[in-house]
Symmetry: none
DNA sequence: GAAGACGCTGAATCAGCGC
DNA sequence: TGCGCTGATTCAGCGTCTT
């Protein structure tokens, strides 16, 4: 067996390409803290596949006694820790990691994630509309797979496109259980012989939702077990950069051909993420400076129970309190916090108009 | 602190009772290989810090009990290994174990299960119809919990009532994802002050399905973290024996009072286990799980000429036939087929209400 | 009395920037 | 890094009160 020497660390990322070879070695060749998101579909534990490989590509022997089972769990755990560590090094501090697995391996992966300092954000259940039935009638139909979404650390300011997810779900918060079909039909890659090109090709819809949820256009997405390249195909389509790592030359070939046919969404604007959090901040005082509100204007709370006057410096004054729109709103209610923009209103034509209305007006003017 | 001396091993099981004290000590006091099934709802190690407020400024009443606090992962792992080992000793060779948890703890529990030689059969997802939203909009709604079902070993000939699960699910294989509401309303135990008696009371429908799937009448079911006693209540109802272990004297009191009020399904035969497109499909068995129909209820045919009794697994039994609502409906009429939903009725206030009425009710609840 | 409004609550690892 | 300020954020079900 030929074993490549460890690659030197690259100084620039090999964007939109597939690195051939061992996942851990390839990860170690990349610059640290350079990747925005990692999606990983690692090999499952041996008990089903019988095809567990050690990091050095040697195959783990089949097993049928307790001692070996333990040895194999330990081997799998070492492999898991190795790639999770290597992945964590290349991940940006505010990056996040997704891992998918089944009950054979996902519990071991999840425990090691936590041990290494990753911070779990959600476990997400992919519910399959069309799972394989349980033929022997000895268990429940295994109708789902589990994904773990985690940040590099508890302090990480990870990307989450809350509004996009909510919109995707008919204006209800997106839940942790996702209903999707398995990859089949024309989406399933097949060779000329009609045989499926990869045994565990993931549906593009799954990656679509993941990338829409946790990345922004231009981000770099890495997949250390690239397989048939679903991650790359969807990343290209959605205007994200991808880096794939794959050991099997045939899978690389299949994935390259596949991705080359992908048409990116043509208009950049279609990919933009709208988020209230990212809109430019408008201080309350600006409304007064710009004449949208006059000093001395009496504001009324949404429920009509409280009033306060606008002062020239952008603070409010009520009978008992003075301070920012938020502080006075909280104080009059005796609440720990308050969004003054939504709480305070101006009476106009018999209605109460939240001052947020004026902010939106100003925001539009300021482009 | 007074610490009880280790109890000697009992030679007979304390059936249908609650053992006060530490889970591991109590497990160690029981005879080995004596338990048919264990259901465990261990502390989740939530690691909550600070307070969380809803958008309307009300405070979320989170779990902050001492029993959920662990110093670190290693401490939690030791605790997990200890109780899993003790549980495995008392489990019969052909017995099985269920554990429920969330992403905070379930991956650690799952990994330790495998390390100790338990053999995973399924991970089962409880999808909540009505989870708490994510108030800050920083994650997906945490809308599920995970259960692991495992046998004592890979060689175990565990109990699985495949046919019962299939009939409970309208003659389709039961999947690994279960849709059920959280425990609320009148089922939720409250003190005289109206405060919930236990922070994490599980719904009876969940235990109903578990016990129907993996035990038979007369089996002994053990719950080492008994809490408010849901396991005991459902076990008593379904003619299974229970043994609870609980440390908190107040929870024991609550559980005892609760279980004393439970009426077991009166006729043994009702417990025996035999081996549409646009609207969501509601299996007949769900009406029973959810308490809309009780096992033993007598159904009458629309024309009043036939009767049949409801059994706990969702089958009917008439004088000459047994099977699904459709099968028995067809058989008593000598017809080739029958829509049991329209054919079978419940007498109520002098009228015959088709069981379809209950289906519609449940459908509305489940959205 | 019925229908609708309103309030409360559930195993929750729940913010981000600037000084 | 620590502190203080700004300001973003909820779904389904049940019970009670009002119209």
């Amino acid at each position: 067996m030929t074993k490549k020497a460890p690659k030197p660390h690259l100084t620039t990322l090999p964007l939109d390409s597939i690195i051939g070879g061992d996942s851990i070695e390839a990860l170690n060749s990349l610059p640290e803290a350079s990747i925005d998101m990692i999606f990983a579909d690692p090999p499952y534990n041996l008990q089903l596949s019988g095809e567990l490989h050690r990091p050095n590509n040697s195959r783990v022997d089949g097993v049928d006694n307790d001692w070996d089972k333990f040895a194999d769990f330990a081997t799998y755990d070492r492999f898991t820790v190795d790639w999770l560590k290597a992945a964590r090094r290349v991940l940006k501090d505010d990056g996040s990691l997704w891992v998918i697995g089944s009950y054979h391996n996902i519990f071991r992966v999840g425990a090691k994630l936590q041990d290494l300092g990753y911070w779990m954000l959600n476990d997400v259940i992919w519910r399959k509309t069309n799972p394989m039935p349980n033929f022997r009638g000895r268990r429940f139909t295994n109708a789902h797979e589990t994904m773990i979404w985690c940040a590099k650390s508890a302090e990480s300011r990870y990307q989450f496109n809350y509004e996009a997810m909510k919109t995707l779900n008919d204006d209800l918060q997106m839940r942790s259980d996702w209903l999707m079909p398995i990859c089949s039909g024309s989406e399933r890659l097949k060779g000329e012989d009609g045989v499926k090109s990869h045994p565990t090709q993931k549906p593009e819809a799954l990656l679509y939702r993941i990338l829409m949820a946790a990345t922004k256009p231009g981000d770099v997405v890495l997949d250390p077990f690239f397989g048939s390249g679903t991650t790359g195909a969807v990343a290209k389509k959605l205007g994200r950069h991808y880096i794939g790592i794959e050991r099997d030359p045939n899978y690389i070939k299949v994935a390259r051909a596949r991705i080359s046919k992908v048409q990116p969404v043509p208009e950049k604007e279609m990919l933009q993420i709208t988020s209230k959090r990212e809109e430019p901040r408008i201080p309350f005082g600006w409304l007064i400076e710009r004449g949208l509100l006059e000093p001395g204007t009496v504001l009324t709370s949404t429920n009509g129970r409280f009033t306060a006057k606008v002062r020239a410096d952008g603070t409010l004054i009520s009978s008992d309190h003075r301070g920012s729109i938020h502080q006075v709103g909280a104080a009059v209610q005796g609440a720990p916090a308050c969004n003054g923009w939504q709480f305070w209103c101006v009476p106009r034509e018999g209605q109460l108009i939240p001052i947020d209305y004026y902010r939106q007006q100003l925001r539009a003017e300021l482009h």
